[in-house]
Symmetry: C2
Subunit: 193 residues, 2 copies
């Protein structure tokens, strides 16, 4: 049991995003103008960010979020470590982030070996799929918004193997969005009799 308990204590990787009813995280042009931040939503995000200290994202998500930060003049989150997965950018540390490359498993193993809070997988869908293929997503944190875009960037582009989850939280907000949390259920390791 000790081994299992230790494993449960490890830093978790949480894939978090706002999703439309039809499964999109953004419009085709990367915009997320349909997401409206409310006081309630802000409180939920604050609470979430208080429990993570590391953000992992793909190159496209990085580019979009940088542009948004600049536009809205958002301050950097102090003490947050940012990793950007990219095949086109040169790996290495920059001001406020580090560009990294796969393979994912040894990268995540190194992150988990360090002490720290949980790790936020900020997307996008392409990077999330790579994490799901490697079965490295421990939790989902979905803000389900009451809209269909009809087309856009998918939160879960195919394909990857079946992954089972259990629902750990479901909360509806006044604006019609729902906060959903799921934890990955992995089959138990085979026990010797």
């Amino acid at each position: 049991m000790r081994a299992l308990d230790n494993r449960a204590m490890k830093r978790k990787i949480i894939y978090g995003f706002g999703m439309t009813i039809d499964g999109y995280i953004a419009r085709k042009d990367d915009s997320m103008d349909y997401l409206k931040m409310t006081k309630e939503g802000e409180a939920v995000m604050m609470e979430f960010f208080s429990k993570i200290d590391t953000i992992v994202m793909g190159r496209r998500t990085f580019t979009v979020s940088r542009a948004l930060q600049k536009e809205e003049n958002t301050p950097e989150m102090p003490g947050m470590v940012n990793y950007v997965f990219s095949r086109s950018m040169k790996p290495g540390k920059r001001k406020g982030y580090e560009v990294v490359r796969g393979p994912l498993k040894p990268f995540v193993a190194r992150l988990r070996a360090r002490k720290g809070k949980d790790i936020y997988l900020a997307g996008g869908g392409q990077l999330a799929r790579s994490f799901l293929r490697a079965d490295l997503v421990d939790e989902l944190f979905i803000g389900l918004v009451p809209i269909m875009l009809g087309d856009g960037l998918s939160a879960f582009p195919p394909s990857f193997p079946q992954r089972d989850f259990k629902l750990t939280e479901c909360k509806a907000y006044a604006d019609g969005s729902i906060a959903l949390r799921y934890a990955r259920v992995r089959s138990k390791p085979h026990r010797a009799k």
Copy 2:
């Protein structure tokens, strides 16, 4: 106001289905073996079916549900009118169902002109997309199950225009599935000043 009220009283078209976290209504081979019926789920379905008297489905959904009915020896629902949209089957009445063709708008207008309960759009995704394109979906009734398939038949295949909804119900069940109901929010008709 009277016109609006009358409109609100009209028979609604409800697109209902079990959906995985990653947006699928079935595996690629049409199977839905991951859906487990519970007592709670059965009660929810019974309640739902008590308020509809007409089912509209695509040819593929029809074929799958017929096979399931045969396999499980499910009795026909008494008083239920079934329409099957197909381009390959010959239009006309059969025992227990009627094969129909588009265009959708006049078909739905005829259905709505008759007195009756609400209309269940049973899918699949292809037919739902046609209904969404024509803006004929009034409600969604989604059973969100805590699993990702990684690939499968999409509940909302692209593309169709943006559609806004409001959340009318959100209920979590013991098995980790969630019942979600949404109502279509259409922009109000322009008022003369």
